[in-house]
């Protein structure tokens, strides 16, 4: 299948060998020389050792998804070469350390080895500089420069910038390692450029991972309190908030468990701070009772569930979209809630802000679903994105008894037409009120009166309807009148969008219908779009087609095909296109 003018570099080795930093460094170089890049990682659940890979996809046109191929492999250990031997494309390049990979590697491709081999003694070079192997990775990236036909100037500049803070000696050592890694390759290997990308083409962009995008969006939305308990892959969001807590006046509290984390968050929100908690499915399972507490007390609450492979401990460091049904129904009883599932860095940044607004406006829990793939992939975030596009909206707040007029007793749960009762915060001058997990009357007093019960339930549930003007319909990418529609939600967005470009090469006119507002659906705006679909395939990172089930339930819509993936890995555009070609045509 023909791909864009692009290639993928994979760096493989053991955890702790600096693979992630190498990926970031290459991405920095790409940004500086005007190429697009997309970085994703694959790693097991351990701290040191094991097999880790970072993939850097590079192109001169915008790219937002992973692809399943390796053009250039830098291997830092012998094992990685065995694992990826068959994945290196024909006429690809293997970059390795001659002293570590003992296997006979040929310089030119042959029958048993379809790729070029470039062996450089990175570790020996490093030892020659300061008796340790700390600069081996620097040499390896320099060799990659030779192989790609890139000049070293940008790389040198970035190394200097990066290590200047540490010491001039470290800068100098890095530069030496860089030069020797390049020179060794130049002296011993013919030039084998297989890709020529047009540098300087990329519009300026930031590369940020999904956790950063969420954290930055939350800070922008005015999050003031966050509490969490460590769990992969949600923790980086908390770490980013904690690292910027001083500057932005945030309290980031690590709690003793997820139950405490969500309860602290509910408490802080009840008191009036915008508050956030996050976890993955296991931790979210523990949070479930307090989710209902936010529901019945009508306390605004934003929870991020960064999904990973389940059930139970499952696949701690792999991706999946299998908690959708769970979060939709989590906690006993019935109460209104919102579920959002952003599809890329910009959506993560913006939808977390919308989540805070919706939580405040309608006084209910909002769950934002991400996954390991989004949380850890370094994505393009265009520099011209309007960072201030979403204004803070806190809904109706009563600040003092004066605003109520006279000696009217404040009713926290006043019956209103839209179900939203004006909210006072504890500490508001002259106002006291009761809230609680028991069913209550308008004043928050425990009340089991059946008429009140029905009225109060109806008041709360009405909010699902009154918020509909704030709920957009799904977005269509590509032709509005396509022959085939790929239905995706959350993180599968760009793999699907890139797949329609690949299908176009086969004269198939396809488009993507992407949902990021998952619940409640804006049925009247969405139904006509579904009715227009000619042929369809739904793409989900789970085993049971959870979103397809919702489409059936709410729209009586059944996709013609479904593409379900639950091997722990994200979707690749070519994989989607191939299956559509094979099964639908």
């Amino acid at each position: 299948m023909k791909l864009k003018n692009e290639f993928v570099i994979a760096i493989a080795g053991k955890a702790g060998q600096g693979i992630l930093s190498m990926g970031e460094l290459i991405q920095d170089i790409c940004r500086d020389i005007g190429l697009y890049s997309f970085v994703w990682v694959d790693y097991p659940s351990l701290i040191k050792g094991g097999h880790n890979v970072v993939f850097i996809r590079i192109s001169d046109t915008p790219i937002y998804a992973p692809v399943e191929q390796i053009n250039y492999l830098i291997t830092l250990d012998a094992e990685s070469l065995e694992i990826h031997w068959d994945e290196i494309v024909k006429k690809g390049v293997l970059i390795y350390d001659k002293d570590i990979v003992k296997k006979e590697i040929s310089q030119r491709p042959n029958k048993t080895q379809p790729f070029f081999g470039v062996g450089v003694p990175f570790n020996a070079i490093s030892r020659g500089i300061n008796k340790s192997t700390r600069y081996a990775n620097t040499s390896a990236i320099a060799t990659l420069h030779y192989v790609l036909g890139w000049e070293l100037a940008t790389y040198a500049k970035i190394l200097e910038k990066k290590f200047k803070k540490k010491s001039q000696q470290i800068v100098d050592d890095n530069i030496s390692a860089m030069k020797r890694g390049y020179e060794y390759a130049e002296e011993n290997y013919d030039s084998i450029f297989t890709h020529q990308l047009n540098k300087g083409q990329a519009e300026p962009y930031y590369s940020i991972d999904g956790s950063q995008a969420l954290a930055f969006g939350a800070i922008k939305a005015g999050v003031k309190f966050t509490a969490a308990y460590p769990m992969t892959p949600a923790t980086p969001i908390f770490d980013h908030l904690a690292s910027h807590a001083d500057k932005y006046g945030i309290i980031a509290k690590q709690a003793e468990d997820e139950i405490s984390a969500i309860c602290m968050t509910v408490g802080a929100s009840y008191a009036g701070a915008r508050a956030l908690t996050m976890s993955s499915g296991g931790g979210f399972s523990l949070m479930v009772e307090a989710l209902g507490l936010a529901g019945i007390t009508e306390t605004p609450l934003v929870v991020v569930n960064a999904m990973r492979g389940g059930p139970s401990t499952g696949l701690p460091t792999k991706t999946e979209q299998s908690d959708l049904r769970f979060v939709l129904h989590a906690s006993q009883g019935e109460f209104p809630r919102v579920v959002l599932a952003p599809g890329d860095s910009v959506e993560l940044y913006q939808l977390i802000q919308e989540a805070f607004n919706l939580a405040d406006l309608y006084q209910l829990p909002v769950i934002v679903l991400t996954d390991k793939y989004l949380a850890t992939s370094q994505m393009i975030f265009p520099k011209d994105t309007d960072l201030d596009a979403i204004a803070v909206d806190r809904g109706i707040l009563i600040n003092s008894q004066k605003e109520l007029g006279g000696d009217e007793k404040y009713a926290r749960y006043l019956f209103t037409k839209d179900g939203v009762s004006p909210r006072a915060l504890p500490g508001s001058n002259g106002i006291t009120f009761h809230s609680g997990s028991d069913e209550h009357n308008e004043y928050g007093e425990i009340c089991e009166d059946p008429h009140n019960r029905v009225k109060m339930m109806d008041k709360r549930m009405r909010k699902e309807n009154s918020m509909l003007p704030s709920i957009p319909k799904p977005k269509i990418y590509g032709h509005t009148n396509a022959d085939i529609t790929l239905i995706s939600w959350g993180s599968t967005k760009w793999a699907a969008i890139e797949a329609i470009e690949l299908l176009a090469n086969h004269n198939i006119l396809a488009n993507v219908m992407h949902f990021n507002y998952i619940y409640p659906f804006n049925i009247s705006k969405t139904q006509p779009l579904l009715d227009k679909i000619k042929r369809s395939i739904i793409i989900e990172n789970n085993a049971t087609g959870q979103f397809a089930g919702l489409l059936k339930q709410y729209f009586n819509f059944e996709p013609e095909h479904s593409l379900l993936k639950y091997d722990g890995h994200p979707f690749y555009p070519d994989e989607i296109a191939k299956i559509i070609l094979n099964q639908m045509f």
């Binding site: 930031y206 950063q212 800070i219 922008k220 939305a221 005015g222 003031k224 509490a227 807590a245 001083d246 006046g249 945030i250 709690a255 468990d257 139950i259 405490s260 309860c263 602290m264 408490g267 802080a268 929100s269 009840y270 008191a271 009036g272 701070a273 915008r274 508050a275 009772e289 307090a290 507490l293 007390t297 960072l387 204004a391 803070v392 009217e408 009713a411 006043l414 019956f415 004006p422 504890p426 500490g427 001058n429 002259g430 106002i431 006291t432 009120f433 009761h434 809230s435 609680g436 997990s437 028991d438 308008e442 004043y443 928050g444 007093e445 425990i446 009340c447 089991e448 059946p450 009140n452």
Partner: protein
């Protein structure tokens, strides 16, 4: 917005519905007296109730009340206090919620030294669910869930709090409201985590630990030479109850020197709810990463 005035029917519980003679009344009165004597404005006080007979107290005063979840009153109170340090935050809960379902929160709040007062209604029984064995029930206590008598030794709340380095540990008796009022006042005034462990008779289910039982056994430690300034001595003092004969009431331990969570936080950030969030700029975050 004109809510109907006559909503309270017989279904509505706006005043206590504890059993006649319940120890909760003594605690209710003492807490209200303490708050009144401290002259705290009602809107600046939040009572966070656990679940059970005791927790309902949060609904039954003219102060702000938040009825939470079983075992989770402490983390909710911690969240309230962290968001708005101007509020006086008090937890009301029982031995089941605070020492059973939510024991981890209790211990971590102690070591966190979060500035809240915890009023532990310790009646050694699960009352609202009809008298089951609780974490502080005496050995051999018979109930529907332990017909042969409880095998587990009871937890000692004050000793636990001291072990987790709580900075204010005290005990009171629901049958001695003037004394209890003063202890609760001191707990509220303490800067840091404060425990008031209250011996509270359950007149319906607990026929052993009655008013009479406690009246004979409690003694005010201020009538002895005891000084609450030594953690080790306080531990020893707290262990007196384990013989079932002597129940010291009063302040067992107070450490004013350790900074509270709020002391640590407020050096860095101003009260969260007072910060404006309308025009926050984040461009620098994108630039640096």
């Amino acid at each position: 917005m004109k809510p109907k005035k006559d909503l309270s029917s017989h279904y509505t519980q706006s005043t206590p519905n504890w059993c006649p003679g319940c120890g909760n009344y003594g605690i209710w009165v003492s807490l209200k007296n303490a708050l009144q004597e401290l002259k705290l404005p009602a809107h600046k006080v939040v009572l966070v109730g656990d679940i059970g007979c005791s927790g309902k107290l949060a609904y039954w005063t003219d102060y702000n009340g938040f009825g939470s979840l079983h075992g989770r009153s402490i983390p909710i109170a911690e969240g309230v206090k962290m968001a708005n340090s101007d509020l006086t935050v008090i937890v009301v809960g029982g031995d089941g919620g605070l020492l059973g379902e939510g024991l981890q929160h209790f211990l971590h709040a102690c070591r966190r030294n979060v500035n809240i007062a915890v009023i532990l209604h310790n009646n050694q029984v699960y009352g609202l669910t009809t008298g089951q064995t609780s974490p502080t029930s005496d050995l051999g206590y018979k109930s529907s869930t332990t017909p042969e008598g409880a095998y587990e030794t009871p937890l000692n709340p004050s000793l636990l709090a001291l072990t987790a380095q709580a900075t204010f540990v005290s005990a009171g008796f629901a049958g001695n409201t003037p004394h209890l009022t003063q202890i609760i006042k001191s707990a509220i005034l303490h800067t840091g985590f404060a425990l008031v462990d209250i011996y509270q008779p359950c007149v319906t289910y607990n026929y052993i630990n009655t008013y009479e039982y406690y009246s004979k056994r409690v003694y005010d430690i201020t009538t002895t030479p005891y000084k609450p300034d030594n953690r080790f001595r306080a531990m020893k003092k707290s262990m007196e109850i384990e013989g079932g004969q002597k129940f010291p009431i009063g302040i067992l331990y107070q450490d004013k020197s350790r900074p509270s969570l709020q002391d640590n936080i407020q050096n860095r950030v101003s009260p969260l709810v007072k910060q404006s969030i309308n025009n926050i700029t984040v461009k620098s975050l994108f630039e640096q990463d």
